[in-house]
Symmetry: C2
Subunit: 284 residues, 2 copies
């Protein structure tokens, strides 16, 4: 079993916001992840919610800026916030772009030669990390939810759609809804999965997955700021997700939030509603 | 009247978190400050609360990490968060220490030759900035409160004690309560006010000021983490403030918070209580 090392520990809202590191087998490197341990975990097994961050983020952004701890403490949810890519693997070109390579793992398992050994964030998030959490924390692993922002919103949606039943709840902030049809997604999937491998691309596209979803009921909640530059630039494509969910019979609430942008100010404003959403499915 | 320039603007909790810059006359340099404008300010003059940050902070730390906006929005309070020192004044030695010079103005008006032209944070915070706020925002300047953290907790306390009536409410997180008796304070006051000028030191010492406070009733609220390293190191000296307040007839609630440290995780855990405290005096 993986050994985890405590990197930091801060009391917050009656619980503990911690950061751990461990050697990841999937990623072949040392990784950090944040864990908020709610006060309820002192006496009972608690549900777990995974948070997947966006481009350029580390495990720090969410835990310092989202204001999530108060809501996790209120509902008694353990919250896990991993980093967004492998780090320091010395792959040529890894540091060249802000939207590819380091800080931009896109929650896929790469198949291209150069990236396939380390860039396995999909398996890391859906298999290795849950096993690490189950082994080290007082959680009820049958009760798991997943949420994320931007690239991490894409990650949360595909993890939920691809693993029916593993996540009882899913939500996203300004997710990249249809990566096969936006510049960020095309760049990432070309690099990690190969330019010609379009069938593989689809297996990581939330719209394609929603359209073909076949599993236990899953209610999707999304917040999208109307003043988000990346919305205007066509990186997020929320309408495509709404249409795909309708097509696949997946209920979705897509809230379009006047004047809100892509920042953590936006996230913090609505994170309480998202925790309420997850608690509804995880605390029954 | 000073012209202010909007540097950033983010919708948050129904209001706007903004950052402005302006040329400060008191400090002789260009300064930034954060302003949270609550939704209530669309239709009415709102009270204003000043937040003073600690060592090494800029205007960013509080606005990104404290989770303050939700509470300011709830109570309808405009929140002003200035930087912690003049910047870029090209004073020799300004950048040499993390606890003196840049990022460490200590909210005093320096009298030592080298610093006295620019390091006038006391006058900046208590006079120039309130005038800028009154001229540019829909505030009721008669209803002002002040709070802060660490060095900024010291700042909040001395601003309130030295200007009876100007601030209707005051609170602090882990304040440097008795700077004349702790290493940080001795270093700062020696540098800014002169080693031999002990009478001047006292005029910026919260304990001395509390003991001799003579003004309208002022209820002080303080949170202090019991696992705060700087408490152990004797930098904060909360007991001395409690004694001084008793001496001067100033009511104080000093909460000692088990397991909490000096970080923004600590601040965010209790900032809601502090806003409740300020609202009690500012919203009547």
């Amino acid at each position: 079993m993986t050994t985890i090392k405590e990197e930091s520990s801060n009391k917050a809202f009656g619980g503990w916001q911690k950061v751990y590191s461990h050697d990841s087998k999937e990623l072949g490197c040392h990784m950090k992840f944040g864990v908020f341990i709610p006060p309820q975990a002192d006496s009972e097994q608690v549900p777990v919610v995974y948070w997947l961050s966006g481009l350029c983020c580390t495990e720090q952004n969410f835990i310092t800026k989202s204001g999530s701890q108060q809501h996790a403490a209120k509902h008694g949810l353990l919250v896990v916030a991993p980093d967004t890519s492998p780090r320091g693997c010395n792959i040529e070109g890894e540091e060249d772009s802000w939207d590819f390579g380091t800080g931009a793992g896109f929650y896929v398992d790469a198949t291209e030669e150069k990236w396939k050994t380390n860039y396995r964030m999909y398996s890391y998030v859906t298999k290795e990390l849950p096993a690490v959490i189950a082994a080290n924390f007082k959680v009820d692993s049958d009760k798991a939810g997943i949420m994320g922002h931007s690239m991490g919103g894409h990650g949360a949606l595909i993890c939920a759609f691809k693993n029916p039943g593993q996540y009882k709840s899913v939500s996203a902030f300004a997710p990249i809804c249809n990566p096969v049809n936006c510049p960020w997604g095309v760049k990432a999937f070309t690099g990690y999965l190969g330019a010609d491998n379009k069938d593989a691309w689809k297996t990581y596209d939330a719209c394609d997955l929603a359209k073909n979803y076949n599993g236990p009921p899953l209610e999707v909640m999304v917040d999208q700021g109307k003043a988000d530059n990346f919305l205007t630039q066509g990186q997020l494509l929320p309408d495509n997700l709404v249409a795909a969910c309708a097509n696949g019979g997946v209920p979705i609430v897509m809230r379009m939030d006047e004047d809100y942008d892509h920042s953590y100010y936006f996230i913090s404003s609505f994170i309480g509603d998202h925790f309420d959403h997850h608690a509804k499915f995880l605390k029954d």
